[in-house]
């Protein structure tokens, strides 16, 4: 097994708004291996973006850190001093592609000046020319037009903006790239370009591993090596891509698989029934399984205690009645 580049243990990050606490990330544990793409999938509002943000170690109000560990090889960043984090980690070791790339760039700043600001922050000794040289080279090598460097964000198309952001985020060769729904606002051909770009970055070892977040589970089939399924602030199932996609154990995973448009080979997929019911209120979390309310296999037992991860072979799932034992269709291969 490849070595771990990051390990997250029982991470808790809550929003504190007007005295109320919203448990958006509630005890998440993950391991991220060298060279892999870890997919994270879940419905809207389950805390994916919050998790991605938290993984960077930067908790921006109203988000607050409430416990857990984020270990990068040898350093622990969850309680790190803001200044040190900014200097040594953000953009350099862990980088981010935000969900809303459309507005992620300052509208009145040329790309050129933004990359200068970013790079100068980490390597103050560089001159502007050196920075631009380096950026042009990187753009070139990833077959993006160098011209865009001198543009304002509003002069770029949505797809181009997203690719530019991806390149900017990886300028400093971060070990981990957190990509928060980098393709969801794009048309199909732009989606393909982004995915190709991320794969190229990995192949060239510009980034060592990627956390790829999406609400379209089937999308992960084409890019992720392993997948974690998120529900109501928690990971409910972990496994390899083929395990999760072809033989889901958690009823929620199965629901996610069957509910979302399947984008096969750029064709418009057939729309299947949407996930029924809605996720629980993260302000007041109920005892027992968080999915109980919507689960077709729910029993009284499910509603008593918080469900722990169960090991089934090499797989892990937070469910008392995983789909293997219920009907045997998904017996581990």
């Amino acid at each position: 097994m490849k070595k771990l580049v990051a390990e997250v243990e029982n991470l808790k990050a809550y929003y504190k708004v007007k005295g109320r606490i919203l448990k958006a990330v509630d005890g998440v544990s993950l391991g991220l291996r060298d060279g892999e793409v870890l997919g994270i999938a879940g419905e809207s509002g389950c805390g994916k973006s919050t998790l991605a943000m938290s993984l960077s170690g930067l908790f921006l109000p109203p988000l607050k850190y409430y416990g857990g560990k984020i270990k990068l090889k040898d350093i622990e960043i969850s309680k790190m001093d803001r200044k040190l984090l900014r200097k040594n980690v953000l953009g350099k070791k862990i980088s981010f592609i935000p969900q809303s790339a459309m507005n992620a760039l300052n509208p009145t700043l040329k790309i050129r000046n933004f990359v200068i600001d970013v790079l100068k922050e980490h390597e103050p000794e560089l001159s502007e020319e050196e920075i631009i040289d380096r950026v042009e080279e990187r753009f070139d090598s990833l077959s993006l037009s160098k011209r865009v460097i001198n543009s304002y964000p509003f002069e770029l198309s949505g797809g181009m903006k997203q690719r530019v952001i991806t390149v900017i985020s990886t300028l400093m060769n971060p070990e981990i790239l957190l990509a928060d729904e980098p393709t969801s606002a794009l048309d199909v051909s732009s989606q393909h370009q982004i995915i190709k770009l991320i794969k190229t970055l990995l192949e060239r070892r510009i980034v060592k591993s990627v956390v790829f977040i999406t609400h379209e589970l089937p999308l992960l089939r084409h890019i992720a090596d392993r997948i974690a399924i998120m529900y109501a602030g928690q990971i409910v199932e972990r496994g390899t891509t083929s395990q999760i996609i072809f033989s889901p154990l958690h009823p929620y995973t199965k629901m996610l698989m069957s509910s979302i448009i399947t984008p096969e080979k750029g064709m418009k997929g057939k729309e299947l029934p949407v996930v029924s019911g809605s996720p629980p209120n993260l302000y007041e979390i109920v005892a027992g399984c968080r999915f109980a309310e919507r689960c077709p296999y729910v029993t009284e037992e499910c509603k008593i205690n918080e469900i722990k991860f169960h090991k089934i072979g090499d797989r892990e799932v937070r469910c008392l009645h995983p789909l293997t034992e219920r009907n045997g269709i998904n017996a581990a291969k």
Binding site: L60, L90, K92, F96, P98, N106, E121, Y152, I168
Partner: protein, 335 residues
Amino acid sequence: MSPYFKYILGKLKWYVLIFFAALFLNFFLPRLIPGNPISALVAQMAGGGASSDVLNKLYNSYIHEFGLDHPWYVQFIDYVVKVFHGDLGTSFSLYPTKVNTILAQALPWTIALQVPSILLGWILGNILGALAAYKKGKFDGTLFPITLFVSSIPYFCFAIILLYLFGVILNILPIGGGYSMALTPTFSIVFLTDALKHYLLPFLSLLLVIIGGQAIGMREMSIYELNTDYVRYAKLLGVSDKKIIRYVFKNAMLPQITGLSISLGTMVGGALITEIVFSYPGIGTWLFNAIRQQDYPLIQGGTLVITISVLLANFLIDIVYGIVDPRIRASQLEE
């Protein structure tokens, strides 16, 4: 043609159009209402005790000046031609002084009072507003309600309070006028320090209220900008707060510039009334006197000068805006 030049040209056309609209209003509005200036004046003179010789002379000069025997459009063209020759007519109350002469004397006072107070108030207000947004809590909690209260005090009320406090109770600053009666305006040290003393109160009263108003707008804009996606992204890339604040400040400023251009008219109006409170020898005080003496040529001259100044200032603001906001230039390219 460069996009910026194109932008300026478009603005220029627009302001020329507004200028003519303003001229038309200035000419037309007083005539819109029955009991127009001239007939009111004739009635007034008939009732007054002026000797018939003077009365006749006055009357004829008005008839001539207003061209009352012509149809209105001829009168209007006449009026426009005169304005372009810089001729605003003759004052009733200070006959035969030309309106131009009076306004030319008053304008420097008004400009000296308003331009620095509005500009400085705008700049300081924006800095303060941005700080309040950035240092939320500490600054914001106490400063904001105070600022809101100060900025909701009308200019002239604030002026009266300051005048009473510093001019009357504490008796440390002059209670009115632009300079002491005993002096004549020259560029001597004595006169300038005296003028400065008279300047302080009206200036401060405008400055403080403008700072308050701007700070509130800027605080809102900055809070909005601080919550944008680009700020979060820059933070996640490790960009320092200092640089991010610069982004936010600039982007929050842009609407403040447009805001200034929109509220300039109100500010100038408020400032003119502040002049009245301090009997400051600018356009506002002259306007006040002209109104009391029903000196229509002076009233109309005054309003025209004010309108033109506001238009000019707005044009300048638009020019600056075109420089600082790249999106404006880009939108010109698309057309």
